[in-house]
Amino acid sequence: MFKNYLKTAFRSISKNKSFTLINILGLALGLTTCLFIVFYVVDELSYDRYNINANRIFRVNEDLKLGDNSVQYAVAMPPLAKTLKAEYPYVEDAVRIKNAGATHVKKNNVNIIENRLAFADASLFNVFTLPMISGDPKTALNEPNSVVVTESTAKKYFNTINVLGKVIVFNDHENFKVTGVIKDIPNQSHFNFDFFLSMESFPDSRSNEWLRSDYNTYVLLRNKADSKKLEASFPNLLEKFSGDQMKSELKMSIKEFEKSGSYFRLNLMPLTDIHLKSTLTGELGANSSVQYVYIFSAIALFILLIACVNFMNLSTARSSNRAREVGVRKVLGSPRKYLIAQFLCESILLTFFATLIALLAAIILLPLFNQVSGKEIAITAQSLIWLTPLALAIILIIGSLAGSYPAFFLSAFQPIDVLKGKLATGFKGGMLRNFLVVFQFAISIFLIIGTLVIYNQLNYIQTKNLGYDRNQVLVVKNAFELKDEASVFKQSLTQLPGVVNATMTGFLPTSGWRNTRIYFKDANLSQKESMFPQSWEVDADYIPTLNMKIVAGRNFSKDISSDTSGIILNQAAAKFFGFKDPINKTIYQSKGGDSKGERNVNDYHIIGIVQDFNFNSLHEKIEPMVMTYGHNSGAVSIRVGTSKIPALLAQIKAKWKAVSPNVEMDYSFMDQDFDASYRSEQMIGTIFIIFTALAIIIACLGLFGLAAFAAEQRTKEIGIRKILGANIGAIIGMLSKDFIKLVLIAIVISSPLAWYLMHLWLQDFAYRINISWWVFAVAGLAATTVAVLTISFQSVKAALANPVKSLRSE
């Protein structure tokens, strides 16, 4: 019996080649897309799970609120790790990791800038699963000036992994001994370093300060220990250890501090949540968002649904062609369940082919997908372990799902009716089919609207006036290497033709340099009127170089010596303090309490107000920030006034060489840095476009098939109408009308939904576009046009056919 099913299935499939092709291709396209999304989602969800103890590892985060400012840190106090381990028996171990930032590493007398270095406590290898190839994980990071490197770093610097005992020179003068080589850290890790330097080498790590947070701190709990219990004990712990320091620094107890509306609290975040749910201050690397996992999963499901719907639609549309077969089989005694089995068999067979094609396509296109998504996914023997059952599940589930409706629909035909030809009108009464077409197009239109909104928003980000001009600005990022020579370098640049202006400071809207300080409105340092703004040290050339605008007062000046205690506020800061006329007002800053308990206050007089500029991502509102006049050699930014950039760059490099022959100049353009910070949005935009295109192609494949069947079903009617004088236009109109109606309904359904969801997405941006009506018009028009084109191919064919042919078959 099964053989008979398979035989009929094969013959039916090969008899209707175009139908089969449309069906398999549509499904394969949908499945390929889904596979990619599955790859993506699996990859996202697998972060940090390479750690054997992943479910027992937590990061200690800190929430700080000072007056009206609140910050969530991914970092905690320097002494916290060792205190937790000492105080709580159920804390098996704790480790601190401190990003070391850009560092010079010497290789054969050439300094290479490396960014992936961190200081780590010796307990690193107890907590995280970082398998050591050589060296002793228990002792490797015990001694000062020890370093553990990854396998590929060892190869990079020594061309071998047998590097134990060798010396690496950092920043030209710090000698570290290699005490271990670990395997490369998997990509699916929320931190990724090439060098782990022993924490003992970093004197600050011995600090006992409880009022600052700058160490990423992780705890490993014992088996079955309750993280909630640990979290609940944190307030007491802070009271016990930071209470005294609070008293001497801020002259108040923690209770009083909290009474004033401020607090600092600790909480635990599971290690496996970090990658998808954490975007705090002080992360060890950029994390992703669980939102995208949801969005992409939903899209995958939708695309799969569209593909399944095609399958159902085409199969039922074809039902009248198969009806005679069903009738004959029934007359010959086939029970209904055999017929159902037969049709399911057919659809599972089709799904099998589609899945094969999809798998093949996914493997071939994987590099392309990696390029678009910024992932490094590879299909290995290991992925086959979950891929094979997945493929089988797809074949069975999708096969039966897509085949179920046709199977039950067709097998329910009454043989007498079928043989008498009463079902010749198989295309009609397709309420469900109409519903499914509407559903497909609703999704497609939704995706078109989504794409348009995302692109509009990205375009808005690109073109928004940010309050500073990022174009034509060259940033020399490692000016700090020049130390005292930095000013000389900057000065020498201003003499170059083509350089309009230059400023020296690491604090840039597009750089990672940030510094928050507390300022008070009154000299008594009252918590109530405190502000926690970004506080940037800049020079007098900063505002003119970045084309910022002074809206009141003036810029810093080299010639006014009192400007060293001058301060420029942005509009948000001025508003925060509520000054009516802020110029010449004074604000205060604590220098930190000294041992005698005397208050040590710096005062700053406001000399100017700078127009608000976006120094954070456009996801966030412009926060208060202030500029002080000082010397910071973090970077040199150069406003370029020439189109001959390469020539100018060569001259700037020459100036650099003159002051620093041994170190390479590290530079970038500010607009590129800006774009880089929206890479994830760009990526989403690209992926959305691809998915939209796929969804539309799949939906149109289905529509194409349906239109063909509609035309086929109505051949006789078309013939009659033509004989009665209908022209080609009238026939095309008649055939297209029904489908266009469905597309119009889809527009009506999907537009409000799309508006709502995209509105939600935009809420993530403090600076965003309004979704305008033309987005919906364009999406609707696009969908209608594509649908009309698809249908008209079939309609024109039907309309041009000679009516004699269609009537001859009578």
Binding site: A730, V804, E810
Partner: protein
């Protein structure tokens, strides 16, 4: 009204070439009622399709009302057709989705007749065919005889000069068949030219003249008295 000369039509499949019409010539005058007879495959339907401008001949000339149309393109033929020719088929060929009224109205829509005029003319012709009471029914709800009357109503609603009937009684019992033939005779008496293909000698007797075809050629003409 119609004059065809040396008309030829071939059908080709990959392997065989079939001659449907072989240098056929004939003439039909205005007001005539002509029956075409012959065994299956003699070319009757092909001839009717060409006469009805649904198909074009491969060779030969076809003059309709003094105009040579053998080489007219589809659009010109369609234009000529919809104003001059009405069709009646063996299997009625009514559109299932449309009511009796709408089926009959269709040719008027395609010739651009105004809506109020359409109602008037459709009602007039339905009345004449005595199926006015069925105007809002669908074809499936009618008997075969009624369906054919609707089809004839549709064929004449445009007041064509020529009616082509392809075995109009083939699907009907004798009583309904006679009714249909009476209808056609009436139409002919009112001036409409009728060319009818039939297998039935009985039906053929309603005509003025019988043309008998065999293998795509005229073999005999009988003038009825």
């Amino acid at each position: 009204m119609i004059k065809i000369t040396n008309l030829e039509k071939f059908y080709r499949t990959e392997e065989v070439e079939t001659i449907a019409l072989n240098k056929l010539s004939m003439e039909v005058n205005t007001g005539e009622f002509v029956a075409i007879m012959g065994p299956s495959g003699c070319g009757k339907s092909t001839l009717l399709n060409i006469l009805g401008m649904l198909d074009d001949p491969d060779e030969g000339s076809y003059v309709f009302n003094g105009v040579e149309i053998a080489h007219f393109n589809e659009r010109k033929r369609a234009d000529l057709r919809k104003h001059n020719i009405g069709f009646v088929f063996q299997s009625f060929n009514l559109i299932d989705e449309l009511t009796v009224f709408e089926n009959v109205e269709l040719p008027l829509i395609y010739t651009g007749v105004s809506s109020s005029e359409r109602v008037k003319r459709v009602e007039e012709v339905l009345d004449k065919m005595q199926i006015m009471h069925r105007r809002n029914h669908y074809p499936q709800q009618l008997s075969g005889g009624q369906q054919q009357r609707v089809a004839i109503a549709r064929a004449v609603v445009n007041k064509p000069k020529l009616i082509l009937a392809d075995e109009p009684t083939g699907n009907l019992d004798s009583s309904n068949g006679n009714d249909v033939m009476e209808l056609l005779t009436d139409l002919n008496e009112q001036g409409t030219t009728i060319i009818m293909v039939t297998h039935s000698e009985h039906d053929a007797r309603y005509s003025h003249r019988i043309i008998r075809l065999l293998d795509g050629q005229t073999v005999m003409e009988n003038i009825m008295v």
